[in-house]
């Protein structure tokens, strides 16, 4: 007999360690039945439970107490019990609630994806694409904030924030002292630093990686390029501060930005230091390991090393001429 507990999610049974959350059990199964998570981050203790996108229905509490749970529960913060039965995508109730959460998350989101650096790797985009509806019923002004620079490398655009609190947990757990947090309450709450103080420590850049939306962006990469035009390559270097395992994002021969290595759930494998992230942007600084595997469903994978010509461009000499530099660069690589 093992100590593992059995849990059934959407009819698929898996054995997991006691104390595992439903979300992590679902991640062990993988595939469509993994609930989306906007605020939970497995590397950050205490995160989760806030965005409510990972709601699931527990149709059987456990072998001992088979009563179903009265409400939908946040799968990221609910532990599994032996014999638990969970419904995620098989429950219309869950689908409906999730649709509601997506709509509610979007009512105050600016939807400025065309000018947002996060577009293409934004969890909110993925979430609304998969679970949302095409139109909104919200007819009022959205809340807006001024952009703030927190430090010379990071910009905070609070308008886009969904208040997942991940960056606050990063500051609490990864860096030495925290200078930012939540001000205000309700829909007026905002992430901010105390009297716009700069965040200055070696690991502050990780708030960019954990941000599920484009609220915290890398100022060295801002407006440089769209994510799907860049190519991710795994690389490492001997770094005295961190493990130095990163993903480099190339456009041509130029490293446009450096991030942590993100897994299929969008979580970094290791947090990296600011020197790796902001200051070492030459290929010569790194030992290249090879292309980063990106899910084939991601828009980032749609970027191929050869530029495929859109029919409309091929047939039009003026457009061909106008895009000449792009073609040249693409074929050179």
């Amino acid at each position: 007999m093992s100590d593992k507990v059995k849990v059934t999610i959407d009819g698929i049974t898996v054995e997991v360690e006691p104390g595992t959350s439903i979300l992590n059990a679902a991640r062990q199964i993988g595939g469509d039945i993994v609930p989306p998570a906007m605020c939970y981050y497995s590397k950050l203790e205490g995160s989760g439970g806030k965005c409510r996108t990972c709601l699931v229905k527990v149709s059987k509490g456990s072998e001992k107490d088979p009563r179903p749970m009265p409400k939908l529960v946040a799968s990221c913060r609910t532990g599994v019990m032996d014999g638990m039965e969970v419904q995620n995508i098989t429950s219309p109730e869950v689908i409906e609630a999730r649709k509601g959460v997506v709509e509610i998350l979007l009512i105050n989101h600016p939807l400025d994806c065309p000018v947002c650096d996060q577009a293409g790797e934004c969890h909110l985009q993925d979430l609304s694409f998969e679970h949302g509806v095409a139109d909104t019923r919200y007819e009022f002004d959205r809340r807006t904030f001024e952009k703030i620079d927190i430090g010379d490398k990071i910009q905070l655009h609070m308008t886009r924030c969904i208040l997942c609190y991940r960056c606050v947990y990063v500051a609490d757990q990864i860096t030495d002292n925290r200078v930012h947090g939540i001000l205000g309450r309700g829909d007026a709450s905002e992430i901010s630093t105390y009297i716009e103080k700069a965040i200055e420590n070696d690991f502050s850049g990780n708030v960019i990686d954990v941000c599920p939306v484009g609220a915290l962006t890398d100022k060295t990469f801002r407006f440089k390029n769209r994510v799907w035009f860049t190519k991710p390559v795994d690389a490492h270097r001997d770094c005295p501060k961190c493990k130095g395992k990163v993903t480099l994002w190339y456009k041509g021969e130029e490293v446009l930005r450096v991030t942590g290595r993100k897994d299929q759930f969008g979580e970094v494998e290791d947090f990296i230091c600011n020197t790796c992230r902001f200051d070492t942007k030459n290929t010569s600084d790194w030992v290249i390991e090879g292309p980063r595997h990106i899910s084939h469903t991601s828009v980032i994978s749609s970027n191929h090393y050869e530029m495929t010509l859109l029919p409309v461009i091929k047939e039009n000499p003026i457009l061909m001429e106008a895009n000449k530099i792009e073609f040249d660069r693409a074929t050179k690589v």
Partner: protein, 455 residues
Amino acid sequence: MARKLLLGNINVPGIHTFDVYRQHGGYRAVEKALKTMTPDAVVEEVKTSGLRGRGGAGFPTGMKWSFLAKPEGRERYLVCNADESEPGTFKDRYLMTHIPHLLIEGMIVSSFALGAKTSYIYVRGEMMPQIRILERAIAEAKNAGFLGKNILGSGYDLELYVQPGGGAYICGEETALIESLEGKRGNPRIKPPFPAISGVWACPTVVNNVETIAAVVPIINDGGEEYAKVGNGRSTGTKLISASGNLNKPGVYEIELGLPVEEFIYSEEYCGGIANGKRLKAVVAGGSSVPILPANLILKTINGQPRLMSYESLSDGGFQTGSMLGSGGFIAFDEDQCIVRNTWNFARFYHHESCGQCSPCREGTGWMEKVLHNLENGHGKMSDIDLLVDVSKKIEGNTICPLGDAAAWPVASAIRHFRDEFEWHITNSKTAMEQNYGLANYADPLPKLEEAIQN
């Protein structure tokens, strides 16, 4: 006159001082409990009494106490929730202002029962006078040897502290209260773990309402069985009701649970009827978060039985035709009141008080408020009504703490029962600016169940 277990001596001059309170039989419960009873016996007595939480949820107090984890070598805490901020509820403030020693006495007995050596009274920040009154009462009790080391020679030590809050409604939620008590931002914690396992500073904690703790005093004095004889069915004892709105005599009343609502509104002993000879239109029976009911449904249940002031009778009919006793904030609306405006006002309150931690409540409460603002000000559309119902459904049950439910219920119930009035606000938006919808058919006798089914 009905029995007064809590407010019996409220009119005695100087009852707020220790000496007068003691002369009128105060602190007998402490003597009885500490000298003649074991902590477990006190818990048993509270269980026998059938006392239910007076803060709103109505959870049996004895059961809550017996859930408290008792690991070796760990402190346990009792926290009194005096962060009374529900619109329409002002009973705890009344009790603390006029008879603070009742709360102190209850705190000592309850702390003894739970084995807590340190207890807190978390008082809402706006209630500064009450905080001073309580601190003075604690000092008096300490001087008399009822607090501190070795109380009454029983070997039991207790320190009691008053902690002012910042005045947030959300800090009345027990885990947010604990966070605030610890000096952090008052965000509700994600449960489990429940406070009974991990509360203040990760130690087992019980959080009880002021009135619940005060009710422990008569239970110990007279015995749990005697207390259980008062009241009706599983709603035992007496309850403080904060009556407000268009009543002849608004105020705090101690009622025996099971009193008919009609008697409570119209009898001279209590509210004395609707003010200015108007007719009753609607009632919010238990503080702003419970569903609002039209006059016909508050006086009679759907089965034609008279509605009683008790946990069971008020919730008879579920959310379709019932409400809840809640915290006992009884708000009466006469025929000149606008339900749309009132619903908007409640929605505005919840929008303002949402902590902003979880998304449905943070964004949804603001959305509902804005839509209701449009409706009230003549810019509404017919589709807005269904939108409100839908948004309230998306919030309800999907949030970390019950504030989401509390924000959704008043809106959903107002539309359920007063849809005509909402529609009238849209179709006659100009008239709605100048006059109110009036009583309409909200006080008409309910149709007999058989007829309703045939129709």
